[in-house]
Symmetry: C2
Subunit: 212 residues, 2 copies
DNA sequence: ATGGTAACATACATATATGAATGTATGTAA
DNA sequence: TTACATACATTCATATATGTATGTTACCAT
């Protein structure tokens, strides 16, 4: 009875996971708000209800923490935004679903973590920057494929190179979503509309994508 | 002869202005690349060919320097982007000219200084943040007026509140331009297209705006 | 030419944040 | 219950960057 109360006494693993989660979430908020350089670990720990001791016990150093946050955010994004969008059969629909999903996803405060870090480490030779760059590049490649597919299908008109289009699309999407900072419900529509503009398709598709 | 060679020997005022200009430009590049917190003044000075001594002689402190850079960039933007766009009579044309102009303006490395600082100081109570916020707000207000005018004229369809539209427009514009990072000549077209999307108008207007 | 002042360089003092070292309490297994 | 490991707190050492104080050189008026 004393050993396996299982509900009352938290096991070590549970305890560890709980702490780690709290620290990750706090760090995500912090990175989103202040960026990497301005993030002070004492605040991160305090916000999570711990001290820096706990933080350095769970993570090797500041860099390790940031990388863990990035991985954490990316996984959530994939699950809540990337995967659902992939179910769309039409390339344009997938891009618009992506836009809407991203807007909804970014209503949480972790919204700007990717863009903030991407700006901060652009052109640097920092591990965190490399990780961010890789995630970004994955997104770009995905968009390039969809744009190519859409053009073959005739739903996206010819124009600038697919890569330039993809860069503009993702940039405009992130920029719009951040500027709107979670203003529901217009954020979704306007994010989708920005995407239609870059693609050069009728902006009413942005509206239709919510019903379909 | 020794006193007023006028062309060979630079006067004190000229000397001062030259140094100040070099320091401002270096700081603008630095802020654009690294943001405020990660900007190290020793590098700024060295990049301009001076030491921190020169910097602290011309500017009170780091904050003063950043504010001067912001003012400097804003003035240039107004002259090269804001004013020319204001000559357009049609609201939509003005918005599209703004987009194209901004893309061209941002081909220089100072591109990201506004967005970088806006992200870094969002929600903070820092003088630099306030200054940036005010400039941003001025832009938003200008867009709101143009959107309202366009709607009255019937060239922009009804939809979300004008302020939300303006936020999305500027956000998408900045995001797209930064992501494209000066990729001429596609940057102009795609920036304009992102704007048409947000406005909910035909994206071919973006193309037409270059000829008109 | 020469005293004075402005433009800059150099040297120093201080603050802040990271990371390491050490200490303590809580959980787990023999 | 005792021995040990893990989770976490606290303290300390170091590095880095800002800002200040002082020194040096270039310009300009008398």
């Amino acid at each position: 009875m004393s050993t396996t109360s299982a509900l009352k006494r938290p096991t070590q693993a549970e305890r560890r996971a709980r702490s780690r989660g709290a620290l990750l979430e706090s760090a995500a908020r912090g990175l989103s708000r202040y960026g990497y350089g301005n993030l002070v670990l004492d605040e991160v720990a305090r916000d999570a209800g711990y001290t820096r001791g706990a933080l350095y016990h769970q993570f090797k150093d500041k860099e390790d923490l940031a990388l863990a946050v990035i991985e954490w955010v990316n996984e959530h994004w994939m699950r809540e935004v990337g995967a659902p969008a992939a179910r769309q059969t039409d390339p344009v629909d997938e891009l618009l679903t992506l836009a809407r999903g991203h807007a909804a996803f970014c209503r949480r405060e972790i919204a700007r973590v990717v863009m903030a870090l991407r700006l901060e480490f652009a052109g640097q030779q920092h591990p965190v920057g490399r990780e961010i760059e890789q995630i970004w590049e994955t997104g770009v490649k995905r968009c390039v494929k969809l744009i190519d597919a859409g053009r073959r299908a005739g739903s996206i008109p010819p124009g600038p190179p697919a890569r330039a289009m993809a860069l503009a699309l993702l940039g405009a999407l992130e920029g719009a979503v951040i500027a709107l900072s979670g203003q529901s419900p217009d954020d979704e529509l306007l994010a989708a509309r920005a995407v239609t503009g870059v693609l050069g398709i009728d902006s009413s598709r942005a509206l239709r994508s919510v019903t379909g």
